[in-house]
């Protein structure tokens, strides 16, 4: 098990390294370089631009730039914003926390809501209740975050005054964005849960138990735990990608600080070092989370380690 964990972690690190290499290559492909894109627009003379390129190492051969870049990443030097001159590391450090809080709290909402919806959609006795749950799941999967977020602010804040409006710090401000983002993430989790539970409920031993007249409830609960947990872990890790994407729009609409807004502004400013920083960071986090989920799944069910598909 430890060997598997180590191997999975190693794979994750290799993937993360590949991802950041890809980001490096892509951002060097930009027509005109980053200096041209940002400083050239500020009306600097050609000689000044060239001096600045020298300073940033853009005149070096690509392989050397790459080595310098990798070395910098390891030492914690992620470059500087071309716009504000702030170290990228500082920008990331200041904004990682708020995004993590939003993403994790949304994930908790999503896991709870998703499991509940999934179970209801698959096991509820009344057909109408099952259909209702299924409808909510479909809604979560097919409405865009920006549309629900607008609606949520309008209803809960502007219309009913139950929760604070956009902007601001503190737990009260987290509730609405967390629920909106969590609701959409819950869709996939519920779908996976529902289909696993349906599969489990259809299995022979449950039918046998029912035939014997035993109350099927404990069995079902056991199965929800067993078949529910595994896919949820896997889906939750996958959903982290959706969540990181979702934070971009959620942060914008709810005026929250975080990596999403940093990325949007950097994209608008073509502030490549910042874009690269955000993207590399999320790629590393995402790959590690996937690895962690695999290891957890393996802990829960040793068959997973069996072979690679």
């Amino acid at each position: 098990m430890i060997a598997y964990g180590a191997r999975r972690l190693a794979i994750a690190l290799v993937v993360a390294w590949l991802a950041l290499t890809l980001a490096f290559v892509a951002l060097r492909w930009v027509p005109g370089d980053a200096v041209d894109a940002t400083l050239g627009r500020a009306g600097l003379e050609d000689a000044e631009l060239d001096a600045r390129r020298d300073e940033l190492g853009f005149n070096d051969p690509v392989w050397r730039q790459y080595l310098v870049y990798l070395g910098g990443l390891v030492r914690g030097d992620w470059g500087e914003s071309l716009v504000s001159g702030q170290p990228v590391r500082d920008i990331l450090a200041q904004n990682l926390g708020p995004t993590a809080v939003l993403a994790i709290s949304a994930l908790i909402v999503a896991a709870a809501l998703g499991l509940a919806l999934g179970v209801v959609a698959s096991l509820a006795r009344a057909r109408m209740v099952r259909a209702g749950a299924q409808a909510v799941i479909s809604l979560a999967l097919s409405t865009p975050v920006y549309w629900t977020a607008t609606l949520a602010i309008f209803l809960f804040s502007a219309q009913w005054g139950l929760l604070p409006g956009p902007g601001g710090r503190g737990l009260r401000y987290l509730v609405l964005p967390m629920c909106v983002l969590g609701f959409h993430t819950a869709g996939s989790i519920a779908q996976v849960t529902a289909s696993s539970v349906r599969e489990a409920a259809g299995r022979a031993f449950v039918r046998t138990a029912r035939a014997k007249g035993l109350p099927p409830v404990p069995d079902v609960v056991e199965h929800i735990l067993r078949v529910g947990l595994l896919p949820v872990i896997a889906v939750v890790a996958l959903q982290l990608g959706f969540l990181l994407s979702g934070t971009v729009i959620t942060e914008m609409i709810f005026v929250r600080r975080g990596l999403g807004r940093v990325l949007l502004q950097a994209v608008n400013n073509r502030d490549y070092p910042v874009i690269q920083g955000v993207v590399v960071l999320s790629a590393v986090v995402y790959s590690l989370a996937n690895a962690l989920a695999d290891v957890l799944s393996a802990l829960a069910d040793p068959r997973v380690t069996g072979g690679e598909g």
Binding site: L18, A19, P144, G246, I275, S282
Partner: protein
Amino acid sequence: MTRSPIQRAPPVTLLAAGLLGVLLLAAVLAPRLAPHDPRHAVPEDQLQSPSAAHPFGTDYLGRDVFSRVLFGGRRTLGMALLAAGVTLLPGLAVGVVAGAGKHAAGPGPWLDAGLMVVMDALLAFPHLLLALVMVALLGSGTTQIALAVGVAGLPAYARVTRAAVIEGLARPHLIGARAIGAGWGGVVWRHVLPGIAPTLLAFAGVTLSWAILNSAALTFLGYGGDISAPDWGVMLADGRAVYRVAPWVVIAPGAALSLTVLAINLLLNGSRR
């Protein structure tokens, strides 16, 4: 006593198929169906509530929301279909080559490993984030968005195709065919692809619904280029400024977007059973 697939399909699936058909038809026929020029502004008529003349009301500049939703579908769905195409064709190619190469002789396994390394690296970026970076590189505009969203969906599709091809190749009768000496290409083309077509088709549906939501998200964020072109994402973004007095401005494009994705999802659910 055999019933056709249509007769066996649950009513929800039929409904979804019908809905999707109507929405697609509306998008295609927008120029014929739209009662007004979608860009024609009549400032005196700003924010009119729905009426016979304007079934979905008018927006802040007095443009007909119904016409804009029709034309918007054309642009949004066109963009998403293009994006799905950008995902599917290379995704399919990469997946088939890698999947077939995995157990093949010669450079096959290396090809598989190489392709999958690139796909895994791409897969390490969250979907919309990857698309956003692509937009930063390519610039704003519908073609750029379609490319960005398409590439963002590529690794997942390649992965799914590859897994399906490997599973398909592992079937006993194919192992036999290979033993007889049938060519790889022929085996994959004649025997494997037909078998896994349903899986690939279903995932194509998933890809399309992602493409719709993500392209609309990017135009919502303002990367769609021409701001006066009607587009569901742009309409939702514009509508946020006025939705309190004129909710129809956001309800119409929002509902169109959700219904389209919902119809695709329901169809997929139906086909899985």
